[in-house]
């Protein structure tokens, strides 16, 4: 017997696109009718990871990094050029019904709901499509409707719902068959903070209750910070980090932030001697200093300046990641 395989395995996954380039102007248009210049884009260039049952993984990277392409390969929408993919023991690309019945792919901007009919009709249709027994259906629906408090809107035609209400119903439609693997592509895009929190809480509950493996991509670090313990960072088709969220700070942050509130006026040039000024909004100033010298810098501040309040902080994760993506070496 082979040891049990991880729920999701991607090994040396490669996907190249051929994009054709057009020269500008009418001349270029005519020329492109006959001769086309193609350029190869490496969307994924050897991606490796494993994800186990019950794991909730945040997948982050700038636009065009390969997040969605990866999800498409895992769900069976894209045929990888090279490498090995296995999800729930299936080759996703074959899109077998038994496989599709155990996964769900929620894309923030696309909807499953029938526009002119109330969400409940889509739910009932999905019950048939995924052959969910009536008893399970009733139970799960009641539970989810309760968690997202949408009891009174599922009977209103979808086109009359707000974006947030629709997104909640989208999630229900996608999860009624209780998928074991869930791909969430930007689930909170365009939502206000209250709605974002509600959706996050719901995803967390689903993950815990059904031990589902969830991969989540998002542009909001908040989503990832609140939901995912493990984070995979991808850039230009290559994984640059795979580990616990807290590790990112340890590994990549080479400085700390000291925020100080002064009681009397201070001079910028005096502060510059201690560290780089990140923000100067008197009486509050934020200084960046090298990791090792933070305590020293703090005591120097307390000694020589009129300090009212002082804090040493890690730089926010968003900032670390932004710096990661703006052209520094990862090695």
């Amino acid at each position: 017997m082979l040891p049990p395989m991880s729920l999701i395995v991607a090994s040396n996954l490669k996907k190249y696109y051929r994009v054709y380039q057009k020269e500008p102007g009418l001349k270029g248009s005519i020329k492109s009718l006959f001769v086309r210049k193609y350029q190869q884009v490496k969307a994924l260039d050897g991606v490796n990871f494993k994800i186990e049952e019950g794991e909730l993984v945040g997948f982050i990277g700038p636009n065009g990094a390969g997040k969605t392409t990866t999800l498409k390969c895992l769900s069976g929408l894209l045929y990888p050029d090279e490498g090995f993919v296995s999800v729930l023991g299936f080759n996703p690309w074959q899109r077998k019904a038994e496989f599709l019945k155990q996964i769900a792919f929620v894309m923030g901007q696309k909807n499953l709901l029938w526009w002119d009919l109330p969400p409940i009709e889509t739910f009932l249709l999905n019950k048939e499509i995924y052959s969910v027994p009536k008893r399970d259906f009733d139970l799960v629906l009641e539970e989810m409707v309760g968690l997202l408090s949408v009891g009174d809107i599922i009977r209103i035609p979808t086109r009359k719902l707000s974006l947030g209400e629709r997104m909640k119903c989208e999630l229900i439609a996608a999860l009624l068959h209780r998928p074991k693997v869930l791909f969430l592509d930007e689930p909170t895009i365009g939502l206000d903070v209250v709605m974002q929190k509600k959706i996050r809480d719901f995803i967390k509950t689903y993950n815990e209750r059904y031990r589902a493996a969830i991969i989540l991509t998002s542009h909001y670090m908040g989503d990832v910070q609140q939901l995912a313990k493990r984070v995979i960072i991808i850039d230009k088709g290559v994984i640059v980090f795979d580990g616990e969220l807290a590790e990112i700070t340890k590994k990549y942050a080479d400085h700390k932030l000291i925020s100080v509130v002064f009681s009397k006026k201070v001079l910028k040039k005096d502060l510059k001697k201690i560290g780089e000024i990140k923000e100067f909004a008197f009486p509050k100033v934020i200084l960046a200093v090298k990791k090792g010298v933070a305590p020293l810098a703090a005591s120097e501040l307390l000694k020589s300046f009129p300090v009212e309040d002082l804090n040493i902080e890690e730089p926010p994760i968003e900032e670390i990641i932004r710096e990661l993506f703006t052209g520094r070496d990862y090695a």
């Binding site: 894209l78 045929y79 690309w93 038994e98 499509i129 995924y130």
Partner: protein
């Protein structure tokens, strides 16, 4: 099977939400028919009969042609084309169903609404005995309509699948549908063409799907030939079905390779 029934039922409800749509479509068709009446009035001032049609005969022919079109027209080409180009096809591919049968059931659901209207019209004609309809004629005509619905769906589905290879297909779809209309006898009955052209047109599947059933309804086709026509329709359905499977298979592979 149950899931496809559910899709059909839901599509039926969805179409009910657009009752007025169908109403306007119906009147739009009627209006364009009135223009035709004017045109033919002028044409028939010169002669009693052209190519085997008198004035009443030609109007009757076009009424039936319109009814057949209203009942059997398929918009799946545009729907599918949009899904492919926008990338929305993805979410349909990730469901445990056959996309083709799902769309077919959807069409079926939408059509049942129109079928209701058509049965009303035929029912009235039947009871008024305006066209000396017998049971044989009604049954054969209904069988033909069902076949034609399948044929136009398959044809339209393949036109939509062109979007796998071309990025702007609206005009392409329109063009191919005009050709189908023209060769089907939607502009003129086949007998208006020169003998050789008319013989050719009658051999094509397009005519089987429009002019032929109209002529049958008018009593211009012998019962034996009508039954043969149904047989030919069935053969074309099988041929188109396999063609669709082939094109769809190739197209989806292309879609998987390129993504969006």
């Amino acid at each position: 099977m149950k899931k496809y029934l559910a899709i059909a039922k839901l599509s039926f409800q969805e179409d009910l939400a657009y009752r007025s749509n169908f109403f306007f479509y119906f009147w739009d068709q009627t209006l364009s028919f009135l223009v035709q009446v004017l045109l033919w009035t002028i044409v028939f001032k010169e002669s009693e009969s052209i190519a085997g049609f008198d004035f009443n005969g030609i109007l009757q022919y076009f009424i039936i042609v319109k009814l057949i079109q209203i009942f059997t027209v398929s918009r799946i080409a545009y729907v599918l084309g949009d899904l492919i180009i926008s990338g929305d096809l993805s979410r349909f591919l990730l469901r445990p169903w056959s996309f083709f049968w799902a769309m077919f059931s959807r069409q079926l659901g939408k059509k049942s609404y129109r079928f209701f209207y058509l049965s009303l019209v035929i029912g009235v004609l039947f009871f008024l005995d305006l066209l000396q309809l017998g049971w044989f004629k009604i049954l054969v005509f209904i069988a033909m309509l069902i076949n034609i619905s399948v044929l136009t769906f398959l044809y339209s589905f393949n036109l939509g699948a062109l979007a796998f290879w071309a990025t702007n297909i609206t005009s392409l779809i329109w063009f191919f549908q005009q050709i189908a209309d023209f060769l089907g006898g939607g502009w003129l009955p086949a007998s208006f063409f020169p003998v050789w052209a008319s013989a050719l047109i009658r051999k094509l599947p397009f005519y089987l799907a429009l002019g032929f059933p109209a002529e049958f309804f008018q009593g211009r086709v012998e019962p034996a030939a009508a039954l043969l026509g149904i047989g030919q329709q069935l053969i074309w359905i099988v041929v188109l079905f396999f063609l669709t499977a082939l094109i769809w298979g190739k197209g989806v592979k292309q879609y998987e390779a390129v993504g969006d």
